[in-house]
Amino acid sequence: MSEHVDSVKTYTAVWLILLALTGVTTGVAYIDLGAFSVVIALLIAAVKMLLVALFFMHMRHSAKLTQVAAAGAFLWLFVMMAFTFADVWTRGLVGTQGR
């Protein structure tokens, strides 16, 4: 069967970038960026997630079906979060009881 075997060099590079990003996200946390702290932290985490998924989990070689299914996880996560936030974060706006 057609198995993709990535080089040790590729894996080492990904590993070192992941370690560097961990250092960056920790360092940046001490700088006052206000509300952007969360944004930066989540952006770095998302990049790390993509690196792990694409390289370590071989996502870039996976079958299309697997790729679509995995991406689908984020659709359901989005639905769950968006609907909950749409409730919780708007309760004060329209002056209704509930808090």
Partner: protein
Amino acid sequence: MSEHVHAPVETLALREQFNTAEQQKESVTFGMWIFLITEVMFFGGLFLAYTVYRSTYPVVFGVASTSLNAVIGALNTAVLLCSSFTMVLAVRSAQLGRRRALVLFLILTLLLGMAFLGVKAYEWNEKFVEHHVPGAGFHFEGAAEQGPAQLFFSLYFAMTGLHALHMVVGAGILCWLLYHAVRGRFTAEYMTPVDVAGLYWHFVDIIWIFLFPLLYLIDRHMR
């Protein structure tokens, strides 16, 4: 691939419900991904609860979050990333049919996973010493409101605890893989268990990649 001609070593591990080894491998891999997607929703619920309560009690959550040790958290993140690196090398060794390297990298992954859990145990112990464990003895000096502070530490223990539980399960899977790897059960043609165990291990790593900044880092700048 022809449906009638298999290399002998392929048929050895081929279950009867599959036509080809390739079809079997794709089915198993897809099954693991479906399981991981349910896990995304499982952890997602906790991330959701954390976000809702953090936005409800931003100040107390900020103070409670900064009481965690970010340096230890970062070092433990590095340990876990190293374990993912050794795991991917174990999968690669299996792909190439290198049995000794496979055993070596599985042992390294197991040791790094144990190291992560050891550091986690040390951190949890600190919480007990500091009375930061939710319950009757809870006391958090940094906040006037003890309720929201307990809520933060409840979520902290639930999220890191559930993650650690996944690590323990992962360690069990690694032991199972080691048992069979030592006996030479995995070959370049059949190493699907190593492959899907790798998917699981990396997924648990990804969960920590999000837990670390959300629990340890995002309110650090307010200090």
